[in-house]
Symmetry: D2
Amino acid sequence: MTEFSAVKESLAHQAIELPSWAFGNSGTRFKVFGQPGVPRTPEEKIADAAQVHRYTGIAPTVALHIPWDAVDDYAKLAEYAAEQGVRVGAINSNVFQDDDYRLGSVTNPDPAVRRKALDHLLACVDVMDATGSRDLKLWFSDGTNYPGQDDIRARQDRLAEALEAVYARLGDDQRFLLEYKLFEPAFYTTDLPDWGTAYAHCLKLGDKAQVVVDTGHHAPGTNIEFIVAFLLRENKLGGFDFNSRFYADDDLMVGSADPFQLFRIMYEVVRGGGYDPAAGVAFMLDQCHNIEPKIPGQIRSVLNVQEATAKALLVDADALASAQAAGDVLGANAALMDAYNTDVRPMLAELRAEQGLDPDPMAAFARSGYTERVAAERVGGRQAGWGA
Amino acid sequence: MTEFSAVKESLAHQAIELPSWAFGNSGTRFKVFGQPGVPRTPEEKIADAAQVHRYTGIAPTVALHIPWDAVDDYAKLAEYAAEQGVRVGAINSNVFQDDDYRLGSVTNPDPAVRRKALDHLLACVDVMDATGSRDLKLWFSDGTNYPGQDDIRARQDRLAEALEAVYARLGDDQRFLLEYKLFEPAFYTTDLPDWGTAYAHCLKLGDKAQVVVDTGHHAPGTNIEFIVAFLLRENKLGGFDFNSRFYADDDLMVGSADPFQLFRIMYEVVRGGGYDPAAGVAFMLDQCHNIEPKIPGQIRSVLNVQEATAKALLVDADALASAQAAGDVLGANAALMDAYNTDVRPMLAELRAEQGLDPDPMAAFARSGYTERVAAERVGGRQAGWGA
Amino acid sequence: MTEFSAVKESLAHQAIELPSWAFGNSGTRFKVFGQPGVPRTPEEKIADAAQVHRYTGIAPTVALHIPWDAVDDYAKLAEYAAEQGVRVGAINSNVFQDDDYRLGSVTNPDPAVRRKALDHLLACVDVMDATGSRDLKLWFSDGTNYPGQDDIRARQDRLAEALEAVYARLGDDQRFLLEYKLFEPAFYTTDLPDWGTAYAHCLKLGDKAQVVVDTGHHAPGTNIEFIVAFLLRENKLGGFDFNSRFYADDDLMVGSADPFQLFRIMYEVVRGGGYDPAAGVAFMLDQCHNIEPKIPGQIRSVLNVQEATAKALLVDADALASAQAAGDVLGANAALMDAYNTDVRPMLAELRAEQGLDPDPMAAFARSGYTERVAAERVGGRQAGWGA
Amino acid sequence: MTEFSAVKESLAHQAIELPSWAFGNSGTRFKVFGQPGVPRTPEEKIADAAQVHRYTGIAPTVALHIPWDAVDDYAKLAEYAAEQGVRVGAINSNVFQDDDYRLGSVTNPDPAVRRKALDHLLACVDVMDATGSRDLKLWFSDGTNYPGQDDIRARQDRLAEALEAVYARLGDDQRFLLEYKLFEPAFYTTDLPDWGTAYAHCLKLGDKAQVVVDTGHHAPGTNIEFIVAFLLRENKLGGFDFNSRFYADDDLMVGSADPFQLFRIMYEVVRGGGYDPAAGVAFMLDQCHNIEPKIPGQIRSVLNVQEATAKALLVDADALASAQAAGDVLGANAALMDAYNTDVRPMLAELRAEQGLDPDPMAAFARSGYTERVAAERVGGRQAGWGA
């Protein structure tokens, strides 16, 4: 196995992006459980996200969701973030929560609705211009619930048209990350159901269109690390929306349902060059802390990604490659498992200490009194959630 | 194939129960799209349900959901239903929408929450006493999201305790129907995840505890008709919550995703004696019309069940049995498929005509002007939905 | 709905290709059950396939599998087929049954094994030259069973190299159809696990590389008709391997597990222009008749595809399009379902009568005495199966 | 976390049963790859199994499969095992490989076939009498491939009848373990598809009928540890057939696909009292080493179970219980994960050293030269496999 000292530097520059919406309330169609101290404004979300970075040291950016994080002055919001010690990351578009989008947004049979949706996407690029964001994340809930409801192929034509228009609007240092999802909220067809569809659209558009892999958006049994390896080989992996699932798009904390899968994904990222900052892969969380407290939930998630990354970096590439070349099935598997079975927590605690961080971020945050303080301060107003 | 005339009588006495909540707004965690004319009160829901019965002739009862349909005077509500030409059916309990239920209801680690949940269930039996309902439907969203979150076995103990208390409260002509569900809203464990768990609990309690099969609550690949056949053999099939799914608990219109599966289920019902009214199997819909209009959505669903039932009744039992006994794989399959491939719509139109109904319920309802009338009348107030 | 007379001509020219191996013995890893009268030679397989065409009129070609159908003189085999009234169709390569392929064929870490596998693929093109076949079907069982066993990306490089070499060898009127499969026999990674991977490779190679959709090769919940529509839009749908599944790659008779899905697939084929012979889409069966008799199993399958096609052609495209454009969810769904619910069997019987065929192919074949004759004649020798 | 010293004793008495058939050749329907040195006789399989025990110290018994391990003198075979340092464990019945079983064994529509199958099961109890085995493992491949093929309910009646007859034959210290499986080799219905069906049959029969959980036999998404916890609560968990899967019944090495799941299962075993030898839970492997060498594959698997068990025993039960009682979602999850994230390999090496074993069983076996010796010695004869 690779020496820990050799991977320490790589770990030190890791950067995981937090989603502003993870700090707001979330839930299922059955119930959204509110929590005390939940932010009411984009600024309060950013302040909470900054706490995660403060204790982990590797969560320097916050993704925004428009219109949930809409403000009058984005430059000012970016300044506020900087004061908190973080930066604004990707801009996430939202074309699924207006009544007009009942039958779709950019693939809606009604051209007026398509135009409205496209205008929103273009406005998101305006926000990027103001915040200096590099990435526009595009997720479309578009699809149908019943066979025959709409024309599958015509919807692809409409999708392609919208993507072209957005692509044309991107600045030189901007790109979009196209997200796919098997199902939900559409229950028969989804217009971007799998990586292949997203890849095909991105390929036609060019280098500024990249695929984003949400780890909860696949059919049961899908081998996600294969997709990661394949997209890296094609230079089409733009980033990740990390989270965990046992069933569908459960949006649990990343690494909580299948930590071995997370390790395998991070191994393919490392092996394929995706961990090199120059590769431009964005490592983002996209989660719902429906029942657990949000800031600790995010800290736990960041630590889970960090631990998986440390294990992936520890893999002895030479031992692995030589076992693979020799057709030594058990030996090659063992080379990988040796790294996975290592307890990297002591090493990471040591790394944090060297960086002037508390070795135990969860405990340090708990001791800080932040939770109690915001619960007391954030009284009145409307707690942030998916609806606002 | 059996002659249609021979099955006509069976079809004439079919009874499908409608869920009051299908007439209110519903959606996903991403968005609930409101629709014009949606009911604002339990009475308006019942009035809408009565329309479905008026045009199909086989939807004589309406299930209530407490507290969504809570009223001061249930006897009066029952009278109102009678005036509309329908009756109150099963009472559906709801122990998932109070903030207290964040970590469960009857399986919550906190005894006070368990007590509160149990009290609600007992109060539902009071409603049954007032409405004359036979069935209490018990669905628990209880479960956990993370490994270790709570003790799986202790939660079973708590569940058993609550079920015993409810069972003890049931009157002589009352029973409860215990529902199971693979996942959602809980994403790691669900305390009643499968038919086996529901069956085991019901078996210990006695004849007044029966299992209800929601057709959308299974793992991918589950053979639902096998479960139906098995529960009928054990005298433990209390009823159905019908709906369709392509992926998870999509709650689409029954028969819209896999009409052949619905036929196979109805065939096992018929073959196992479950279609005989004396068997006490409740045929209920439980659906969400997220994007389609609700009353027509319910009519369509009732017709889908009726068509599947007609086909199931048409199966030539003798031809089937003799091919099965002979080990004639293709012959036995053909005997079943012959009925499935039959177009039963003309026969059912004829049946309706004989009963004084319009042969085409969808068209007749559309022509009636009801949709336009309620859209105009039901202005102001708050539309019914899952939250109220 | 479209008039039947209008679709009759389309139905008359339908062509479904039969797999020679469907007439041999097959089974699971647990047991292969032999059947009396099973062919022992490629010629006997072709003779059996010709029976299917004789009674259905729409199964004019037989796919060969090399080396299972290896003969010394392929031109002579093609002549034999012509005498039986059928033609040789696609050539199916087999690089999974030699001991050398334990760790893969064209993606094996050992270059010597890769070379051997490639040589076989090139030899299959030689067979095509001799038989006049247009299509080479490429299925690779290549993959790994354990994480770390081999390098995912390196295997893609090796795959690409092999595909390029085969592509370069194709004649002007030849093409290859690249098959993908989620899993089996590899249980961790498969080198061509989904349509996206096959598509990406084909796209780089050119027009003579097309994707083939085996209806049993997807993850649970995958919307196959979406893939069909997408590939047709991209001019990359080369053909189908039809069969049915409830669970994995069950290889049951097409249309037996989910006839509605088959209809939806055929509808997208028709809608996307794929039913036009000029589109070059190959409609092939790929099935295992493990427990049912093989020739009747193939006849039943051909009829199932024919019935689904008839229904797809009956869809009233104008009614559907106008309901879709109007956002009429139930109306659009009804337009599709109206065709599906139609019993097309009488119409197809009529079509057969007009073509001089028996209206009931299953009964006619049963009456013919062929089964009894070959059971008596084919004594001695070794029955064909997957191993030979 | 619990101190390692406290769990050492528990680990020392662990006992994992090996399947004789894991040492023979296996594969998929596509190909069985033979390996040099594979046993040709039951004795050679036992000798190989004894190697696994020799290096791990916790694999003292070997399960037999009848007729694959049929011998004239079972008492003598038991003696041979004792000489090798192991004992004969469970007897596995096989009613799926005779031609008669094409349409089922104990559920076959033909009473003569049912009788034959039952006779085999009873003969297996004779073998138990001779070997002193406690457990009869019953797995039935029975089911159907096509809707309508046979009567689901009648097959349950036949199954119940056979189970009763076997149960009646059991001696005082004997029991049977009833296995369930979602699918394969049957592809439409399986007569024992899930734990609920097996449980219901066992419950009626009595204490000597117990359910066995094969970890590869569930629908996607099934929470296996829930089933384990439930069956333990009901005193109906007879044992495990351990293996791993990514997709279906892949039969990979246990712990190789989802080591976290294996840990969760072992945690529920420990928590529910199933690790106490008095509970009578049999911990058996049931795997196929299709491409990797068999003895090392078994050693690796035994070690994987041992590591998961060590982690499960290390869980701090008090910390976990108090976090659960407090509704501390993240704290409770962390208590579990703390144990899982521990690297137990050094502790287990220490334990082995104390027991006089080599700390590294894989390396020690590799060094032993056994593999080379048997490859040289076992020449001629027919290698064992599923067919013999």
